[in-house]
């Protein structure tokens, strides 16, 4: 190996080491997709809908309190409002066209977990966990991106928090502020998510 090659290699190693030491915490773990912001077929803004117009998450993602999945709204449910609201917008016309052509809209999945993980939305929503805790401030996002890492660590840290689901004065479930010694509401059994 020539001296020149050795020089180049040593400079490279030094630079990489410096970057790792300086910004190590921001390096991603394997499989961490947070920040993923794919291009969607329709330029839909959560900021306008959930933020400015304060539409409840469950209006569109109506399966979230009943099912494993939160559910993506059907084209027809978009048109519930958009028959009246901005019916001529080029983005809405895409929805109209989808219905007319009988071709469902192919949204790109933003939040995903591996196939060996089962996540149930309904249990979390019914336990009083805010959508924001995992999905971030969607109401401020013009274009939705992945907020959490959705790594096993992020799930388990909550499940290990030794907090109980209690009902508040209006009968809605809430996560208690204090830790409890009582039986955990959130299990850390592997089979709860992996089966």
């Amino acid at each position: 190996m020539s001296l020149r090659t050795l020089k180049i290699i040593s400079i490279l190693v030094t630079v990489i080491a410096a970057v790792v030491i300086w910004q190590g915490s921001t390096f991603r773990q394997y499989g961490d997709q947070s920040g993923y912001q794919p291009i969607q077929p329709i330029n839909f803004s959560h900021k306008i809908h959930a933020g400015d117009n304060k539409i409840n998450c469950l209006y569109c993602h109506s399966a979230a309190d009943k099912s494993r999945v939160a559910g993506i709204p059907t084209a027809e449910s978009c048109m519930n409002c958009h028959n009246q609201v901005k019916p001529d917008s080029p983005e809405i016309l895409k929805v109209v066209k989808a219905i007319k052509d009988d071709k469902p809209i192919e949204w790109v999945k933003v939040n995903d977990v591996p196939d060996h993980v089962v996540f149930n939305h309904s249990r979390h929503v019914n336990a009083g966990i805010n959508c924001n805790s995992c999905h971030g401030d969607v109401e401020t996002m013009e274009k939705v991106s992945q907020f959490s890492t959705f790594s096993m660590g992020s799930c388990v840290s909550c499940h290990r928090s030794h907090r109980e689901v209690i009902l508040d004065s209006s009968g809605r479930p809430q996560i208690s502020a204090e830790k409890t010694k009582k039986r955990l509401m959130a299990s850390t059994d592997c089979a709860v998510c992996h089966h």
Binding site: S67, A75, E76, K109, V118, D189, C190, A191, H195
Partner: protein
């Protein structure tokens, strides 16, 4: 450079004499530059591909109101497997059916299902199904089909309209009306019902003895003593799920009852039913006739029908004194149970069945355990009609033949004659959805929907109407055969409309409960079944003794010699219709524990006498017909008989079924108006060839280990079973179960070993099929298996069945050896297997004394997009190198736990049912929470019969067994 000549052929020397490659393939690019470019491209491609794989979510355009994404809906329907008409609940997830379960309120199946029913899901997503109608093998449009057929039918009316509609048993009254209406348009139209394995002799015998051409309803739930001659009513005979449920109801000791029904079986081969009998006698089919005659003779002499005995003057032919004594004892027992006994026979000889009818008549069983007034409709085949049809076809007397659900080119004993005759039929139309042996001979194929895609009704038992409702829109370009028939007679309605209007005009008119038809329809559809209100008793049919002595004479006059041959059905493959399902092919036979094959069963004594080894190929010969099959040495088989399973040797049954086993249908005989599955004068010649069976269990004996605990009924009542099982010393700390502790109790007294649970588990848990070779290497993947043990006893061979799921041990031996913590104990008592952690050391499997762990030796392909629709989305599809095992259906536990928590209530007992438990026709498996002391499983485990398998190992399994109890008929200790 001095190289050899050969070297010089490839290399040239440069100016310095060094060898260089003769001419670069790419001009102007050096080798070095090319490799560099290749390297950069590879690096670049790798970098580019380091991004999130794009996944699509495609929501509906319009949400069906009843559907929530990710939540399963259940629809009540009817199984379309065989003609038994069991009630099903179909689990539909996101618009696709993924699992069939039993409908508990259905009066026929009462919540049970058999293995064939579970395989229907596989059949629905079979990508080998026909996707379009075909004319002469060419893809066609429905309009062209209709035009052609209507045209040809029109021209056939000139020659008398000799139209034949050939079908299997159709239990749908509305479909029968559609067919009748279609045929009524033609002068010579006839409907012929054909079943390759028919029970037509029962109907012929009843028309002789009672003047009614019906199969009566057999009530095993009222029979305190069942005597069966070769009838495999728990495995394959008429309606096995219904009979199993009824039969086990009277043998269930878990509800505190102190008596159970008794079952005596006389049979030549070892059947599933015989294996469950309290007393089983080996009797060859040749001896059977004599035994029956003797039985009738004794009964009618001793009973109050002495006049019948005299008038028929039935003398019994020669029988071995031993068998005569046994028949005499059996007759004595039957007389003590008059009116609450049931004698059944699997023979398809009308004369034999007539004797059986007389036996049941002398025992006054008609009206109590046998109902001839509201008969079963589960088999309506007429063998004689079919034999005549083949004759007509060969004489060129048939203008058009429509074939539905039949495959005589494979399963008729003279299939060649059928095929020849078919050539002479000008118009041959098949409704088959598979390109099977018969469909490939048809001119026009109009594929019918799969039963999970179609509307229909079913009347399995007179007055019990159930529904088929579509659970998915047709996947392919198929059309309901009823609609096809309607189109050809100018009816443009859909079959659904017709079904509705038919129900309105027939059943709705007769009932009084509902004022509005819509309410009646919706309720019936919701329940999946409608039971007609009974309008008084029909007058009981008179028993006629005429012809009885003639029948007896005919039986007596039969000359027997050589080996007798017994052709039987396996509970999974049946008549071969479902041979294309790999699930059913791989499901081991409950008795021989062999999959992917049929064979010639011979007794160990015969094998020794003829010097045959297991797997040795023999030639079975009967007159001019021969059949080559491997030998299976089958304990319990009668010595001078050979048993061979039908339904194998298909030549056009898709990837899975083609060429599996050998076709034994040519050995079926036709005599006296019915097909015969028992013949005599069989010759056996051995050959030097040998094959290896694909067996899932290779030892037949439990070797005196206490794996199966058994008591006689007398001992059970006297409380002998109540010996405390002492717990061994505690070595480990007990687990803490804060909320639930799941457990299971399997009642070995109820379990018949039918295998329905194994297939239910396979369908639920996405278990792949491994194939014959892998089974031979003991690499089967079934999470649940049923062990079968033989035990030599004084009175013959005893057979025991034991379902073995993962035992979910408290002191699990698997957990302590896993180096990567891929199998750990849950807070609810489960041994969890974490696929994503498993590295495949297989230590756990080696350390499991129950051998319930399964290893994925290969990546089983999931590249068929249609077949993949059958996968359960709640269960991970495992990949290669991963250990797997029964999870107690943890996905079902989680689903119900979440539901209960969301509704803020505790889980109800019985709310969570494992897949095996749900479909068990015998209700042998009980699952539940052991922390709930009032749960059914806790109650079961309190029984003195409760014991753990391999208790001495102190593994504390959560699955325990309730010891088997046999009804010894009152004798204390030691069965004779």
């Amino acid at each position: 450079m001095n190289g050899s000549k050969l070297w010089k052929q490839f290399m040239e020397a440069d100016e310095n004499g060094y060898p260089v490659v003769a001419g670069s393939p790419i001009k102007g690019v050096s080798r070095r530059a090319f490799l560099a470019a290749l390297g950069y491209t590879a690096a670049g491609m790798t970098l580019i591909s380091c991004r999130v794989p794009e996944q699509k979510i495609i929501p509906n355009l319009k949400q069906p109101p009843e559907q929530t994404p990710g939540v399963s809906n259940w629809y009540a329907s009817t199984c379309g497997g065989c003609s038994a008409g069991c009630g099903t609940l179909v689990k539909v997830r996101d618009g696709r059916p993924i699992k069939l379960e039993g409908n508990p309120i259905h009066p026929v199946s009462q919540g049970g299902l058999c293995s064939v029913a579970h395989s229907l899901v596989f059949g629905l997503y079979d990508s080998e199904r026909l996707r379009n109608p075909l004319i002469n093998g060419e893809q066609a449009k429905w309009q062209d089909i209709d035009r052609q057929i209507i045209g040809k039918l029109g021209s056939s009316t000139q020659s008398g309209g000799r139209i034949r509609f050939l079908s299997n048993t159709i239990i749908s009254p509305t479909s029968r009306r559609v067919i009748d209406k279609f045929l009524s348009k033609f002068e010579g139209g006839r409907h012929i019902v054909y079943e390759p394995i028919s029970t037509s002799a029962i109907r012929i015998a009843h028309s002789r003895s009672h003047g009614r051409n019906v199969t009566p309803a057999f009530h095993f739930d009222k029979a305190r003593l069942v005597v069966s001659f070769d009838a495999d009513f728990l495995g394959t005979w008429i309606s096995p799920v219904q009979f199993t449920r009824d039969y086990t109801k009277l043998r269930d000791l878990r509800n505190g009852q102190q008596e159970m029904s008794r079952h005596i079986q006389f049979e030549s081969r070892m059947s599933l039913t015989g294996a469950n009998a309290d007393k089983r006698f080996k009797i060859s089919s040749a001896e059977q006739a004599g035994a029956l005659l003797l039985l009738l003779n004794i009964l009618s002499k001793k009973g109050d029908q002495s006049e019948m005995a005299n008038s028929t003057a039935l003398q019994s032919p020669d029988l071995s004194p031993q068998m005569a004594k046994q028949i005499e004892e059996c007759a004595g027992e039957l007389l003590r149970r008059k009116g609450e006994s049931l004698v059944v026979c699997g023979s398809n000889d009308p004369d034999t069945q007539q004797i059986i009818n007389a036996v049941n008549q002398t025992l006054s069983n008609y009206g109590s355990t046998i109902d001839i007034d509201s008969p079963s409709r589960q088999d309506g085949a007429n063998d004689k009609d079919f034999a005549e049809l083949v004759g007509e076809m060969n004489n060129g007397e048939v203008d058009a033949l429509f074939m539905l659900g039949v495959n005589p080119a494979y399963d008729y004993h003279q299939s060649q004659a059928f095929a020849e005759g078919l050539k002479k039929v000008p118009l041959k139309v098949s409704f088959s959805s598979q390109m099977d042996e018969t469909a490939s001979l048809a001119d026009i194929i109009c594929p019918d929907h799969h039963s999970l895609e179609s509307w229909n009704d079913a009347e399995a038992q007179t007055g019990t109407f159930s529904f088929h409702q579509p659970t998915i829109a047709p996947l392919f370009g198929t059309r309901a055969y009823q609609e096809s028939l309607m189109r050809w007679t100018g009816d443009d309605r859909s079959y659904y409309d017709l079904l509705r209007s038919d129900w309105e005009s027939t059943l709705f008119e007769k009932q009084t409960k509902y004022k509005k038809f819509d309410d009646f329809w919706d309720r019936s559809l919701h329940d999946g079944v409608y039971v007609e209100e009974r309008t008084g008793q029909v007058g009981s049919a008179e028993f006629k003794t005429e012809g009885l002595s003639a029948a007896a004479d005919r039986i007596r006059s039969k000359v027997n010699g050589g080996f007798s041959l017994e052709l039987y059905q396996k509970p999974s493959i049946r008549d071969g219709k479902f041979a294309s399902s790999p699930w059913l092919q791989e499901l081991p036979d409950p008795i021989s524990k062999t999959s992917w094959d049929n064979y010639a069963c011979v007794s160990p004594q015969t094998a020794a006498k003829l010097n045959l080894a297991e797997g040795q190929i023999v030639k079975l010969g009967k007159e001019t017909k021969t059949l080559e099959l491997p030998v299976m040495i089958q304990p319990g088989q009668s010595d001078n008989s050979v048993a061979v399973a039908l339904g194998y040797g298909r030549t056009k049954a898709g990837k899975a079924g083609t060429g599996v086993g050998a076709n034994a249908f040519p050995l079926v005989e036709f005599a006296d108006g019915s097909f015969r599955y028992q013949t005599t004068n069989l010759s056996i010649t051995s050959t030097p060839d040998k094959v290896e069976f694909a067996k899932t269990q290779i030892t037949d004996s439990a070797y005196e280990r206490p794996l199966i605990e058994m008591y006689t009924l007398a001992d059970y009542i006297s409380g002998i079973h109540d010996n405390e099982h002492k717990d061994p010393e505690k070595l480990f700390d007990e687990h803490d179960y804060p909320e639930h502790k799941w457990g299971m109790a399997v009642d070995l007294s109820s379990c018949t070993g039918c295998n329905a649970c194994v297939l239910s588990c396979q369908a639920e848990n996405n278990i792949p099929v491994v194939g014959k070779d892998e089974i031979r290497s003991q690499r089967d993947l079934h999470w649940l298996r049923i062990d079968r043990y033989y035990k030599e006893e004084a009175g013959g061979i005893r057979t025991d069945f034991q379902p073995i799921p993962c035992m979910q041990c408290d002191n699990a031996s698997c957990e302590s050896v896993c180096p990567v913590l891929a199998t750990v104990h849950s807070s609810e008592g489960l041994n969890m297997q974490v696929y994503n952690r498993c590295v495949g050391t297989r230590y756990c499997a080696n350390n499991c004394p129950y051998k319930v762990r399964r290893f994925n030796w290969f990546e089983y392909p999931h590249d068929d997009p249609v077949a993949n629709l059958a996968l359960n989305p709640d269960v991970t599809v495992r990949s290669r190198g991963v250990m797997e095992k029964c999870t107690f259906c943890v996905q079902r536990i989680e689903e119900k736990k979440i539901l209960a928590r969301n509704e803020n209530r505790p889980i109800k007992d019985g709310e969570i049912q494992t897949a095996c438990q749900q479909s068990c026709p015998a209700d042998a498996i009980v699952f539940g929470d052991l922390k709930d002391l009032k749960s059914r499983v806790s109650e079961n485990k309190k029984s003195g019969r409760n014991y753990a398998l391999l208790q001495d190992l102190n593994l504390k399994p959560a699955v325990t067994y309730l010891a088997k109890v046999k009804n010894d008929g009152g004798e204390k200790h030691g069965e004779s």
